[in-house]
């Protein structure tokens, strides 16, 4: 059911790539393979209607750089700053023959297009009695750490995970990002693909060829027997670092990266908790109604018998994301807080 990036690697050529490059490569390869794949959003190329350079941006984080020169403005569509129009058009195109990858620059902007996501795209198939499919990918950046303030830094994955009809993908490394993006494009349902800003320059070995990673299959990024740590998106590297540090003291942690939070690999978490009896969940979202709260309730309900200590959640506080760097650093779960939570459940 589960696999590590190492185990899943394919046999062909590969090289070290950043998270940004891995997603870019997935888009290139899928657009070459399938002429119905299009990319649209604000400055996905950039420079339209200006006297300066074409492809001036390639997306505000450079993830779609180079696509327009190869595929043209007909398939790499710069849009006005109109999120409802972007997501609405992508949803409408998805159920009439295209496979759009729409970019919602910062996921905080769902506030101005949420109707198109949750009332339209997510519900079509169910409302219409299973007679439609909506192969739509919405890419967006999430997370704090860029000093971008309250309206460009949220982790709003719990909001979309709540919605039936959406799939929610949150890769934590370059290898997963490529495979999950290819799966997202080929999936016939609306997929919310959330890229954490602090991961864009992280690197790992990524195959050159096309490969997919199935949704709903968690990865064990560290294996251990004392404590289970479930970490999401940008929190995975932090959880790994804590696990590595504690390993030197003889504390062994199982670190689970769900990779997709809808569907969620509940079995992998239960399996691990049955082994360790202790669970720490690390999620950068606000604690109330978060994924951490959700996983906590699932384990309390389904694996209570295995628990040897209360479940601990390490999350952001119930506040907006602050701007001042000292405050933002306090907002994001720190390695110290994760480590303390692990020690707490071991002592309980």
């Amino acid at each position: 059911m589960t696999s590590t990036p190492q185990q899943a690697k394919t046999a062909g050529s590969s090289r070290v790539k950043t998270y940004r490059e891995a997603i870019n490569e997935a888009l290139f390869q899928e657009m070459r393979r399938d002429p119905t794949v299009i990319v649209m959003g604000e400055e996905v190329s950039g420079g339209a209607g200006t006297d300066g350079q074409d492809d001036a941006y390639g997306g505000v984080f450079g993830v779609t750089k180079g696509l327009m020169p190869e595929f043209g403005r007909g398939r790499v569509i710069d849009t006005p700053i109109s999120e409802s129009a972007i997501i609405g058009a992508a949803a409408g195109a998805a159920c009439t023959g295209l496979r759009p990858v729409a970019e919602l620059m910062f996921f905080d902007f769902i506030g101005v297009c949420f109707d198109q996501i949750f009332n339209q795209a997510a519900k079509f198939r169910y409302m219409f009695g299973g007679k439609s499919k909506t192969p739509l990918v919405i890419r967006a950046t999430v997370g704090a750490g860029w000093r971008a303030g309250a309206q460009h830094s949220n982790m709003l994955h719990p909001v979309v995970t709540h919605i039936a009809g959406l799939k929610v993908v949150m890769p934590s490394n370059a290898y997963d990002a490529k495979g999950l993006m290819i799966s997202a494009i080929r999936d016939d349902d609306p997929v919310i693909f959330l890229e954490h800003k602090i991961l864009y320059d992280t690197k790992c070995e990524v195959p050159d060829e096309l490969y997919t990673i199935p949704f709903g299959e968690a990865a064990f990024t560290r294996e251990g027997t004392d404590v289970t740590i479930v970490a999401i998106s940008g929190m995975v590297p932090r959880a790994n670092a804590v696990a590595d540090k504690l390993a030197k003291e003889g504390i062994s942690c199982d670190v689970i990266d769900p990779r997709t939070v809808s569907p969620l690999d509940v079995e992998a978490i239960i399996e691990s908790v049955e082994l360790t009896g202790r669970l720490v969940i690390v999620d950068e979202a606000n604690e109330r109604c978060s994924l951490a709260a959700d996983i906590s309730s699932i384990i309390a309900e389904k694996a209570f018998h295995a628990l040897r200590a209360p479940i601990r959640k390490v999350t952001a506080p119930h506040t907006p994301v602050p701007f001042s760097p000292v405050l933002e650093d306090l907002y994001i779960p720190t390695p110290e807080r994760i480590e303390q939570a692990v020690r707490d459940v071991l002592e309980a």
Binding site: A91, G92, A93, A94, C95, Q116, R125, M127, G129, K133
Partner: protein, 322 residues
């Protein structure tokens, strides 16, 4: 313009089917045979039919909460529609959509839409598919005067112009957004002129005159098919029923309903024109009326006898793949 008898028969049959379907929905709702909310389209038939007679099954429309007329005009099966509205398993959407969410993708009917201003952004997408795939198909979104004030619609109008999409925006101005007058809620003199300001050709027509709608829609559909981009039609129209069935309509003026039913009934006007010009005989129309009444009777009978969804249907079709 020359109209063949077959064309006129087709136009009348569709408009009359909508009228009798809606009148029967009102009755069945009052009898308790239709759950939920229903928004009747009677009075506005000439708009849906005048526009959709230019479209094939490969052209796409997006509709509103008041969507039965658009569905019928686009070719949806009225029996399967009635079953859907009654919440039956054999309804057009297996009983899971209901009155406000009827869709039939095989007929290019992208869905009634219970969110005011819901369809125009989505129809941009259908138009984008047509443009990208080079099909020469067009998309038509229907909305009302109420939707014309929604941000989604303004965004969609602008994007359609920016991307030169084959999309005709039809605004049915029936004078009311729910229970509020358009002359209060629409801040400009003319919705048509406001739409034109986005940079597309726009026209205002008498939406109770089938021929006026048909002729204007023909020009804009042709324009869109030939790469001429988006356009908009404001249809000045009347709503014969409330915002929803059961609406006491306290906002109506004295004798307003009586007057509009006498002077602005698109079916009466159509009948007067085609018999007056000697294009069709009154007996032909009467004969059709009886056939349509029988069809609606059958739709209700089959709807009442259709099976209810099985409990397992609750969980089905959330996703295409799990």
């Amino acid at each position: 313009m020359h109209y063949s008898p077959a064309f006129l028969v087709d136009a009348y049959r569709t408009m009359k089917t909508i009228r009798l379907f809606e009148e029967r929905c009102i009755l069945e709702f009052e009898r308790g045979n239709i759950p939920g909310f229903v928004h009747a389209y009677n009075g506005q038939e000439a708009v849906a039919v005048g526009v959709c007679m230019h479209l094939s099954d490969s052209d796409v429309i997006g509709s509103t909460h008041r969507g039965h007329g658009h569905c019928i005009a686009k070719g949806c099966d009225v029996i399967a529609m009635m079953k859907e509205i009654m919440g039956k398993a054999t309804g057009l959407c297996k009983g899971k959509g209901g009155s406000m969410h009827i869709a039939d993708f095989d007929k290019g009917m992208l869905g009634a839409n219970a969110i005011v201003g819901g369809a125009p952004p989505l129809c941009n997408g259908a138009a984008l598919s047509a443009k990208t795939l080079g099909t020469k198909n067009v998309a038509v979104s229907f909305g009302g005067d109420g939707s014309s004030n929604q941000g989604t619609v303004m965004e969609a109008l602008n994007l359609a112009v920016v991307l030169q999409l084959p999309h005709i925006f039809v605004v049915e101005n029936n004078g009311y957004g729910e229970g509020t007058g358009a002359r209060y809620a629409v801040g400009c003199e003319s919705i048509g002129a406001r739409t034109a300001a986005f940079g597309m050709p726009a026209a205002t027509v008498d939406g109770t005159d089938f021929f006026a709608v048909y002729e204007q829609a023909g020009k804009f559909v042709e324009l869109a098919r030939n790469g001429g981009g988006p356009s908009a039609i404001e249809a000045d129209v009347v709503r014969f029923d409330g915002h929803f069935i059961g609406d006491p309509q306290l906002y109506r003026g004295k004798d307003e309903l009586k007057t509009i039913k006498e002077t602005r009934d698109c079916l009466k006007k159509f009948r007067a024109r085609v018999t007056g010009e000697n294009w069709l005989k009154a007996e032909q129309l009467d004969e059709m009326d009886a056939e349509i009444a029988a069809l609606i009777e059958r739709a209700v009978e089959e709807g009442m006898n259709a099976p209810l969804p099985e409990p397992a249907a609750l969980f089905a079709d959330v996703y295409a793949s799990y």
